[in-house]
């Protein structure tokens, strides 16, 4: 089984969506792998992909190709995970904040989180505070993950935190922000619980806040 999972991981890294979907079928048919193991290989694959981007071996299209390979595989494996009573890693609400339309980095993190076993509700880009709040009430997520790429989105981040407090939701959800121009300073100023600016640290910070 580990050999199959390893091939699956390599298909994701290579960004071969047909292969990853095919191998996902095999994994499902064999019905041996534990969901936890599958997620371990999947998230390890996205870790490698993120690393290749950081070192300049991959460019954006190559990362997107791997993200698509994850999505295709997850479409096959989701029912399997469900049947095997997999305990989710957690529920996430994610989106790019109001006034910002960058979606590439957000989408990659969405795929990486799915690969790590999270149920992710992706609200898209230019998302208003109201929309975040409504979704949080609806699905009661463990994590609220906010993408914000331009400096001018600071007020939007502050607004979301303020509304969470006003609505009595702040202690029910951990908030993580991220994006190109993020810094520890910004994260502290707006009052989020964690931040990250690449795939590896994003997975690490979510695991830490989920106590995994």
């Amino acid at each position: 089984m580990n050999e199959l999972l390893e091939r699956f991981k390599q298909a994701i890294i290579a960004g071969d969506a047909d292969a990853s979907a095919g191998l996902a079928e095999e994994i499902r048919a064999a019905a041996e792998a534990k969901p936890d193991d599958i997620f371990e290989y999947l998230s390890a694959a996205m870790d490698v992909v993120g690393g290749k981007y950081e070192t300049g071996e991959y460019f954006i299209p190559e990362m997107l190709r791997s993200a698509e390979a994850v999505e295709k595989a997850m479409a096959v494996l989701e029912p399997y995970m469900f049947e095997h009573k997999h305990e989710q890693s957690g529920v996430v609400v994610m989106g790019t904040v109001k006034g910002d339309i960058h979606n590439i980095g957000k989408n990659i993190i969405v795929s990486a989180l799915r690969a790590d076993g999270y149920e992710v509700h992706d609200l898209g880009v230019n998302v208003s505070t109201d929309k975040f709040i409504d979704k949080i009430r609806e699905v009661e997520p463990d994590l609220l993950m906010l993408s914000a790429f331009t400096t001018s989105t600071k007020p939007a981040l502050i607004d979301i935190i303020r509304r969470l407090e006003e609505e009595g939701l702040r202690d029910r959800v951990k908030v993580i922000s991220g994006g190109a121009s993020h810094s520890a300073e910004l994260a502290r100023e707006v009052g989020v619980d964690g931040f990250a600016s690449d795939v590896k640290s994003s997975l690490a910070v979510t695991r830490r806040l989920m106590g995994r």
Binding site: I101, I104, T151, S152
Partner: protein
């Protein structure tokens, strides 16, 4: 020499009195110079032209960048654009969601709805003293815009033919807008190909998808006016290819070393760059700006033509002192002795 003569001298391959200075100060920054919100100026071309001219006068650089206003180029191809308050205009929708939609792409009329008026107005306001640059997206960038960048880049592996056909379909738009800019009085055309950067795509993909249409468009645009090719962030690995497009000038961003850029691009092309717009002009001090200008001048003033510039758009939060410092230091370190 006045500003206009200085820039035209460089564009004609002659040595000016001092290195010309044309920062990328565009419609995102200019409205604050006349205390107006961005949305007002993007919706009202006269306001935008006034703002860009006011910035030209206040800072004393040598050329102004024209804006076509809301509904700038993405809108000529039907992309919905929104702008609110001091924000920048956002392209909020796409036009092409599948290959069949390519049929929707026609040759746009850049003169429709008064879109060229702000360009003509800016030429009236500054054209006798300085130059006016008009900018247009490359076919590659138009294609990414009408499709949505995320989907477009996913298509590279999913459906490369779709990518090629889409780029082919929008090429006439680049040429039409370029022709209109020159007819409205622009002295040179900036061809923007930001997504072709090695900060986004591999040099191989640049050659496969972006370069052919870029080179072809430049061939046509050059019959209207000199062409400045803009590729921001890291363009180091593709500089020789960029020079090979036939562009008159290459706009170089701060991650690229100017001396190495000159070596890679050869002496036949003008370089324009490369002060860091976000970090140095946006967040640095006037002394940081002066130091960066001195370094750029030492690296690039010598061989071939040079235009001092920022590497990319000046962000809205940049202090005015830093733009003043850019021009002051540019004058101090830019003189040619003859």
């Amino acid at each position: 020499m006045n500003s206009r003569e200085r820039v035209l001298a460089v564009l004609a391959g002659r040595t000016p009195d001092t290195v010309p200075i044309i920062p990328v100060l565009d419609g995102y920054y200019a409205p604050r110079v006349i205390d107006r919100p961005n949305d007002e100026c993007f919706l009202d071309g006269a306001c935008m032209a006034e703002a860009l001219a006011a910035a030209f006068d206040r800072f004393g650089y040598d050329g102004a960048l024209a804006e076509m206003g809301l509904g700038s180029e993405p809108n000529v191809l039907g992309c919905p654009v929104e702008v609110e308050g001091h924000d920048v205009p956002l392209v909020v929708g796409t036009v092409v969601d599948e290959p069949a939609d390519i049929d929707r792409i026609g040759v746009p009329d850049p003169w429709a709805d008064g879109k060229m008026e702000p360009v003509e107005r800016l030429v009236e306001l500054v054209g006798s003293r300085g130059v006016v640059l008009g900018s247009v997206r490359s076919p590659f960038e138009y294609a990414a815009t009408v499709r949505g960048l995320y989907e477009f880049m996913t298509d590279f592996y999913r459906d490369p033919r779709f990518v090629q056909e889409l780029i082919e379909a929008v090429k006439p738009a680049t040429v039409a807008v370029g022709r209109a800019l020159a007819a409205a009085g622009a002295d040179a055309i900036v061809l923007k190909d930001s997504f072709a950067s090695c900060s986004m795509i591999s040099p191989e993909h640049y050659l496969e998808f972006a370069w052919p249409a870029e080179a072809e468009a430049i061939g046509e645009l050059k019959s209207f006016a000199p062409v400045i090719l803009h590729i921001c962030r890291n363009s180091m690995p593709i500089l020789a290819e960029m020079a090979r497009t036939g562009a008159d000038a290459l706009e170089i961003d701060s991650p690229v070393d100017l001396a190495r850029a000159r070596e890679a691009a050869g002496s036949g092309v003008i370089l324009k760059g490369n002060i860091d717009a976000a970090e140095v002009i946006g967040k640095g001090t006037a002394a940081d700006v002066a130091a960066a200008v001195k370094e750029a001048m030492e690296a690039a003033r010598g061989a071939g033509g040079f235009i001092l510039s920022t590497g990319d758009s000046i962000p809205v939060f940049a202090p005015e002192e830093n733009i003043k410092a850019l021009v002051e230091a540019g004058r101090e370190y830019g003189k040619y002795e003859n």
